[in-house]
């Protein structure tokens, strides 16, 4: 058993390199390059702050991803709980000493990066639960203690993130966590029951929402009720995407973003800009790229021998999927506006860091797919 618990691998460096998932890396690279071009466009066709910063972050985090991939997957298994607790501590620290921007206290200034721990929590919660469900006995999955533990793992960060306040990220954390519960084998019945409970309690939840959050939901239901106010973003986003047409207005030709009609074009609405300039073809292409990435991640999960690796890969793949679909639904006017970045594409270090760490662990799982974890 000793060799199974060792953290160093039996593969040498070149074998590890050979075992990397090059298709996944290639797709991530393409996505990174596309995101750079789009960022360049948001800067009005000039190599300015956002593009530079995005380029630096991409380069650093891409290297970080590769470095992470060479660590044995067991290392991540061993350190999962620690990473989760560390992130919780960061969240607590943020709630006391974090930077406050426009009413929300979410960030820690690390000088080279303004870190948003809630973004890291999206990965940490997957790691933590993946480890838990890797270890828990299959018979005990549906026991009260087991489910309570898993839910506690999810609810603690959610409470911390909601208090920032940040509804969007907490919803995404919840989704990432719950998917592990689902994959781990929690009875489908429970999911249905909790879904029904959620729907019933929805009116009460809404009454506890912040006024601006209620407004967002109302605006989502009818964007035209205040076209210059709350509905402005969603209307302008739809105009931008719709006017892109089949082949788009062309690179750097997106009038909606170029003339500042698009809000948040660097971050949450980056897809809108992309879609305006590259049209239906570009948008579907981008979606395909994401789909390939997700499929590659799922494939790695399927190939992995350890439940931990499987759970992490599937969970992470689902998380990526959720980020994309929530972000796209939002900019396409299918969901209320909640702050949710588009992985890799959106400007923002923490989100990219978390995503790249996730990719790194997935690649590590690929290299060490034969690894059995006790």
């Amino acid at each position: 058993m000793f060799q199974h618990t060792r953290l160093n691998s039996d593969q040498n460096f070149f074998q590890k390199v050979k075992n990397l998932d090059f298709i996944l890396i290639f797709c991530i690279l393409i996505l990174s390059i596309v995101s750079l071009f789009v960022m360049y466009s948001t800067d009005g066709g000039e190599f300015l702050f956002h593009t530079k910063s995005h380029l630096i972050k991409l380069s650093v985090f891409f290297v970080l991803m590769i470095v992470i991939s060479f660590f044995n997957i067991k290392l991540w298994h061993v350190s999962s709980y620690f990473l989760y607790i560390a992130t919780i501590l960061l969240l607590i620290w943020v709630s006391f000493y974090g930077i406050r921007v426009s009413g929300s206290q979410r960030w820690i200034n690390l000088y080279f990066l303004v870190l948003q721990p809630s973004e890291l929590m999206k990965i940490a919660v997957i790691l933590c639960l993946a480890k838990y469900y890797h270890r828990v006995n299959i018979e005990k999955v549906n026991s009260f203690i087991s489910i309570s533990f898993a839910l506690t793992v999810i609810i603690i960060p959610i409470i911390l993130v909601l208090s920032q306040p940040d509804l969007g990220t907490s919803v995404l954390i919840a989704c990432s966590g719950l998917i592990i519960l689902w994959l781990g084998g929690v009875k489908i019945k429970y999911f249905f029951l909790s879904l029904i409970t959620f729907l019933i309690s929805l009116p009460f939840i809404i009454s506890y929402l912040q006024p601006y959050q209620k407004l967002r939901i109302l605006t989502f239901l009818d964007p035209d009720r205040d076209p210059l106010g709350a509905g402005y973003q969603i209307i302008q986003s739809k105009i931008a995407i719709g006017s892109g047409g089949f082949s788009g207005k062309g690179f750097l030709q997106g009038t909606q973003s170029y003339l500042d009609f698009l809000p948040e074009k660097h971050t949450d609405f980056i897809f809108t800009l992309f879609s305006e300039e590259f049209g239906f073809i570009g948008s579907v292409g981008l979606l395909l790229l994401y789909i390939i990435i997700i499929i590659r991640i799922v494939r790695i999960g399927v190939l992995s021998r350890s439940s931990f690796a499987k759970l992490f890969c599937f969970g992470f793949a689902f998380a990526i999927f959720i980020y994309i679909s929530v972000n796209l639904s939002m900019v396409l006017g299918l969901l209320p506006i909640v702050g949710s970045p588009l992985p890799i594409m959106s400007y923002g270090g923490s989100s990219m860091l978390a995503t790249m760490i996730g990719f790194g662990i997935v690649l590590s799982a690929k290299i060490h797919s034969k690894q059995v974890i006790a």
Binding site: N137, I138, I179, W182, L183, G184, G185, Q236, K238, I239, A240, I241, G242, S243, G244, G245, F246, T255, Q256, L259, D260, F261, S275, G279, F280, S283, V284, L287, I291, I294, V298, G301, V302, S306, S307, K310, L311, F314, F318, F321, S325, L328, S329, L332, L334, A374
Partner: protein, 634 residues
Amino acid sequence: MINKNFGIRKSDIINRRMFIIGAAKLIIFGGLIARLFSLQINDNKKYLTLSDKNRIREWKLPPTRGNIVDYFGNIIAGNLKVYQLHVIPEQVENFNYLISRLKVILNLSNKRVEKIKKKKKQLKPWESLIVSENLSWDEFSKINNYLYELVGVKPVMTISRDYPFNEIYTHVLGYVSQPNEDDILENEVIQEKFVPGIKIGKLGLEKTLENDLIGVNDIQRYEVNAYGKRINQLEYQKGKQGSKIRVTLDTEVQKLCAELMAGKAGSISVMDVYTGEIIAMYSSPSYNPNSFLFGISQDEWQLIRNNPLKPLINKTLSGLYSPGSTIKPIVALSALENGIMDTNFKVRCKGKMELHGQTFHCWKEKGHGWMSLNNAMKQSCDTYFYEIARKLGVDKLKVTAERFGLGKKVLGEYFENEKAGQFPDTKWKINELGKGWVLGETLITGIGQGYTQTTPIQLCLMTAQIANGGYKIKPKILTDENQLTSEQVKKAMQNTSLNEFNIPLYDDPKNIRIIQEAMFSSTNELYGTSYKSRIEDPKYQFAGKTGTAQVKRISKRERELDLKTFQIPYEERDHALFVAFGPYKNPRYSLSIIVEHGGSGSSAAAPMATKLFKLIVDRHQYRKQIPDYKEFNI
């Protein structure tokens, strides 16, 4: 190996559940793509339109007004380049400092500065604020000298209306100025073309021909950002200058009219007796329309408004006067036409006439003795006309007077202020005043006093229709592309076959000849009232009739005093009138002159005709040389 078994079972569960999730992912991605399709492919047009509406803003610029030219193509209302000073507030660092600098450089008044500051508050920071609408060249170059220290200041060259002949044409053309709310509401064309800084016609032809003159705006299409700031110009759509309008007036004659009327109140009109073209139409005093272009100063406005000679009234069309003796040709004609008398009919003038105990005076106290028509007209014997008016009756007289254009608007469609005046009859008095007609009123109507009210242009038209042999003409002030020349119209009139110009106003053409001859005698024979103003050269020789219209009843005492004009207070002096046509042998033009409170027609009005006919007849050769409007492209 229990552990391993668990591991396999667990993997199975995980893989199976992953598969379910995978299916859900596919459905959701499918939904997103469907949504993309619906937005980008199905509704593409709708969103493209919305996007263009977002980004494209149109700026209309004031259109260039059409020129108005006189008969010979001289521009009488044109456009002038003017220098303006604009300030773009968003480019200015310290607005108050800038304004205080400009105040010094341009010598702006405190009031003006306050106005500018107020205007600035109503504008968006990128909209240009007009500090001065009309800089002199000196000011313009001064500003250019200081430009380096005046950031945000933009000297601009633009176009403004210009009336090169100043006050000569004011009552014909009117003037342009900034539209007020009513102007915009009333006229849809102005509504459509309105931009800040546009000038519209406020009076006269400028107003009535607004829709032709206004032109089409230049349009600048700009791409703007979300805050409305212009980013770049996409298109510059050149507008169109408004249509050119050519009037029938002759600037040279118009100038002479102004010269003759200088310092007097009154009107001169000159008309072609065949085509009805108005050669000159001047109301005195006039005022300078250029003063209104950039907002008239309060002082200047008060000066114009309070002038006792009433420059704001277009006396030619809106001034109502008793025709005085100038009506006599019509009275005589009416009597002849109705067979009341003939040329041999004589009346003895004893200086006054008694009727039902009332005395009616002739202007000549001693009386004229036995008067025939020709003599009575020549010496303007009132008694003669009392007598034939009495025999004729006012109702028959009115028929003739109306036929010749009295009591009706002459140019109504072009000048909204024109008055119709009135020619009374028995029915009119019952309806209007509720009283029966008195025979005495017929008598004074016969010498152009009483209820009769005429405008100078009516008298001119009346004279023209006598001069052309008694044919109806339609006076006009605008040239018309297909119009016939004076000579052609003359031929058409005298042609016995029916045509649009051959509309006789007489029953017997001989009667018209008699009146013409009588008017000739009045000017060209000894004792004629306008004999002193005659021209013997047949080229210029004219026939006319003086008139002296009382503005108040002359009391017995005043009659005995027999005061000279200058001894009477201005407002009580008689209006001097004169109507004439010439050259007598081949009549071309008719005119009417009115000098308000000028005294007698023969001394105040008729001498002007001498100068006028000399010029008009000379100008006729030039006028004749311009054959066709189409060839005449200015």
